[in-house]
């Protein structure tokens, strides 16, 4: 295997805090990019300026590790029926650098899947940068469902123009070390981003998330909801930043986080930041970190679940939710495969039978 290098500052948020808390970034050991010759397929220059959450150092590494960047355009005023799929097969040590331009008034679904059925060791990565032109609609589904010693770097950036709507569903279902950045630049008035992020961090796994939404246009809306579960010996860091920039009058941002701690020796770090340079805006953040609430637990018990079964139900619900929203077969298969490893084959098959894409023929 080729040598490795360290990316020292991955997932750095716009506003940092005390360094001794070790919450400002994560350092990740990655392979030195393979020599691919000079004739790389590069993305159009316009994508260079799109922030993608993981930081310039990690972004440059993914670009250098990807021999062939892929550029996709969704023509104006069209609806692309088949999802654009970025398929990261971990067994092949894949890196992907994708640029997508969703033209004015167009609509597209983008799926980013990283799955590995077998235990193994590799570093995979996906960098996806998206331009959402005026009044476009972009639906993004990210599924990171790795096992074993797979490390994954995920950068996602969206530039949203006037009236563009972006919704993002993230499911982090496994991986030894997963660092995922997301940045949305709401440049145009009335641009909206809705982010739903769910995760299950298993024993010995580390999940590191950096969400950044920059509100520049007027009357933008940014909603970020993150919820997940931590098993024994897991580590999770979540940084969420809403940056209400001067001029973003009428904009509103919300961050909500729920963490279910279901094990010992866990490390749960959260840095929910609101930056505000404007008076006519509203920013809210709420977090609940701990066990299942007594009211919820009592309700579940009254319906016959023990406390352990209630916790197991929450784990299953993350996979079921991913299946319910998986828009095509590759992502559904990745979820089912990972569910099999985490929940067992019976539960996985049971969910797939009722919720798999073939039942609904897609949602």
């Amino acid at each position: 295997m080729a040598g490795t290098i360290q990316l020292a500052h991955v997932n750095t948020p716009p506003a940092q805090t005390w360094n001794y808390l070790r919450i400002n970034d994560i350092a990740i050991e990655v392979p030195v990019p393979r020599e691919q010759g000079a004739a790389f397929n590069r993305l159009p220059r316009i994508f260079d300026g799109i922030e993608c959450g993981i930081g310039d150092e990690a972004r440059d590494w993914i670009v250098a590790s990807t021999p062939d960047a892929r550029y996709i355009e969704v023509p104006a005023r069209t609806t692309r029926v088949d999802p654009i799929v970025v398929d990261i097969a971990a067994e092949r040590d894949t890196a992907a650098d994708t640029g997508i331009c969703v033209r004015e008034g167009a609509e597209a679904t983008i799926v980013i899947v990283a799955g590995a059925a077998l235990p193994g060791e590799a570093t995979t990565s996906a960098l996806t940068r998206i331009i959402a032109e005026r009044f476009s609609k972009v639906h993004i589904m990210e599924i990171i469902a790795l096992s074993g010693s797979f490390r994954h770097l995920e950068g996602l950036g969206v530039d949203a123009a006037h009236g563009a709507h972006v919704d993002v569903r993230q499911y982090f279902l496994g991986g030894k070390t997963v660092a995922a950045g997301f940045a949305a630049n709401l440049a145009g008035d009335d641009a909206t981003v809705e982010l739903s992020c769910r995760y299950l961090v298993g024993t010995g796994e580390t999940l590191d998330i950096n969400h950044i939404v920059r509100a520049r246009g007027r009357n933008t809306r940014e909603d970020m909801a993150v919820s997940g579960m931590l098993a024994d010996g897991s580590t999770k860091t979540l940084r969420e930043t809403i940056d209400l920039i001067h001029g973003a009058k009428g904009s509103q941002g919300n961050e909500a986080e729920t963490v279910l701690i279901a094990g010992e020796n866990i490390r749960n770090k959260t840095l929910p930041v609101i930056l505000c340079d404007e008076d006519d805006v509203a920013g809210n953040h709420g977090a609940t970190i701990g066990a299942i609430s007594p009211e919820q637990l009592a309700y579940l018990q009254v319906r016959g679940l023990s406390e352990d079964e209630a916790v197991a139900l929450f784990a299953r619900s993350i996979f079921d939710d991913a299946l319910i929203h998986a828009p095509e077969a590759i992502s559904a298969a990745a979820v089912a495969q990972r569910a099999e490893a985490v929940l067992g084959i019976e539960a996985s098959r049971d969910s797939l039978e009722a919720l798999g894409t073939d039942f609904f023929g897609g949602v």
């Binding site: 360094n19 808390l21 963490v259 701690i261 505000c276 008076d279 970190i289």
Partner: protein, 469 residues
């Protein structure tokens, strides 16, 4: 619609300068010679001088964080005098205090407050305490309220100081805590014996009169098992065109079952760099309360921190910060929860106007053994115009499965609906906005000692100009 104007804090009450008469002022800058001179003048034990010299070395090697915090540009220690002693002996009678200094504290209302509502008062003028007194009835119960300098000279108290001093806030904490330990001067030492409740608060007031000087007072408070103390700290300074520096340290040891409340109104002038450090460690079943009002200074780094070491201990932090023009106030708190069944409640408000910058910064750490620990953090920020800035940066680190943390933050401005509602009931727009701002600050101001609550209302004197256009 014309924007109504909320007036800046009226500072005339504090902004008066007394001439520096016969003061003993050491050279600007930081050298071992200055540190030795301070130590020598105080006739300190050798261990204290060693500590000072070690701290000075560390100060020179440590850096300010490059990746966060307000800029400290403009603060040049080569142009700050670290020691300015007034020509006055420490006394327990206001009559013996030199006239100009006495007048200063009278204008600040200290002797009056002492007569009416306090159990004891210490007054520091520049680098030294000039007045110290405590009611006899309190002294009779074994309460000690003196300076660390005097305590070090007392063979019975010296070991107590030595055991505690510098242990809670290490000199390695940050660059300015190193500086503090190198040049600290002026201080409060409070010892409350087990089971003793003080009927009235003790108050220390810190006045920095000298231009281009630093104030580095150290406060050491020990409340033994079951004791109960309310300590008030006030600070102010006149405005100069050159930077002044405040880098004090407050170390509080709260024994098991004890109750401690620490109230601060900080109203430094806008040329002040306020890099103060405060920390309390709290024993089992004990209670710690911080009430903090930050109105002044050019730049502040201020995060009172609490370590809930004992089981069933709890702490409350209540703070308000008002940042106006030219102010960059980075304030908040830190809580570390190590004991079982511990409880922390943080409640802060901030108001930003005229380009002022407010940053709420906090950390809540729940250790692996803190079963059933509960923390709640709530911070609300009010933006009064679109030139100002308000950032909220709360960090949480939970390492215990049986703990829970709730957190909420909101940033916004005065809602138009609210103003309209109040106007529909006959208020002018100005009155309506005043009501909303007062209502916003009220839950915090009512936690302040009475005289400070009144002072705060004076401080946030809201004057509305302009009308509906």
């Amino acid at each position: 619609m014309a924007r109504t104007h909320v007036q800046d804090i009226n500072r005339s009450l504090y902004d008066f300068v007394m001439p520096e008469v016969d003061a003993e002022r050491y050279a600007d800058g930081l050298t071992p010679a200055i540190v030795r001179a301070i130590s020598e003048k105080k006739h300190e034990p050798a261990w204290m001088l060693e500590m000072r010299l070690e701290a000075l070395e560390r100060y020179h090697t440590m850096q300010m964080p490059a990746n966060w915090g307000p800029s400290t540009k403009g603060l040049d220690l080569n142009h700050i005098s670290t020691y300015v002693a007034p020509n006055a002996k420490r006394t327990n009678s206001w009559d013996d205090v030199p006239a100009d200094i006495k007048e200063t504290f009278e204008r600040l209302g200290i002797p009056e407050a002492e007569r009416e509502t306090l159990a004891g008062v210490g007054a520091q003028y520049d680098s030294e305490i000039v007045y110290h007194n405590m009611r006899e009835s309190v002294a009779d119960q074994g309460v000690i309220y003196t300076t660390i300098e005097d305590a070090l000279a007392d063979p019975e108290l010296e070991p107590v100081v030595r055991k505690h001093f510098g242990t809670l806030i290490p000199m390695t904490e940050h660059k300015f805590s190193a500086l503090h330990y190198a040049v600290w001067s002026g201080s409060s030492f409070v010892y409350v014996p087990a089971g003793v409740t003080l009927p009235f608060p003790l108050q220390s007031y810190f006045r920095l009169n000298a231009q281009g000087a630093g104030q580095f007072e150290h406060t050491l408070i020990i409340v033994e098992e079951g004791g109960n103390l309310h300590f008030i700290e006030g600070c102010s300074a006149p405005k100069y065109n050159v930077a002044n520096l405040h880098a004090g340290a407050v170390e509080i040891f709260v024994g098991s079952g004890a109750h401690m409340r620490y109230s601060t109104i900080e109203n430094w002038s806008k040329n002040m760099f306020n890099l103060n450090t405060k920390r309390a460690t709290v024993g089992a079943d004990a209670h710690m309360e911080w009430v903090s009002g930050s109105f002044g200074s050019h730049v502040s780094y201020l995060y009172p921190s609490t370590i809930l070491a004992g089981d069933n201990s709890d702490c409350e932090f209540t703070g308000i910060t008002f940042a106006g023009a030219t102010q960059d106030l980075d304030t908040g708190c830190k809580v570390t929860m190590n004991g079982k069944n511990t409880n922390a409640s943080v409640n802060t408000k901030s108001i930003s106007k005229d380009g002022g910058i407010n940053t709420f910064r906090s950390s809540v750490i729940i250790g692996p053994r803190a079963e059933n620990a509960r923390a709640s953090v709530s911070c609300q920020s009010l933006m009064l115009d679109d030139m100002s800035r308000s950032d909220t940066i709360p960090a949480m680190d939970v390492r215990c499965a049986g703990a829970s943390v709730g957190h909420e933050a909101t940033i916004g401005r005065i809602a138009d609906e609210t103003v309209f509602y109040l106007m529909s009931r006959g208020c002018s727009e100005g009155e309506a906005r005043t009501m909303v701002v007062n209502g916003f600050a009220n839950p915090i101001s009512k936690e302040l000692p009475m005289e400070y609550a009144v002072e705060m209302n004076n401080l946030i004197k809201l004057e509305m100009e302009g009308a509906i256009g």
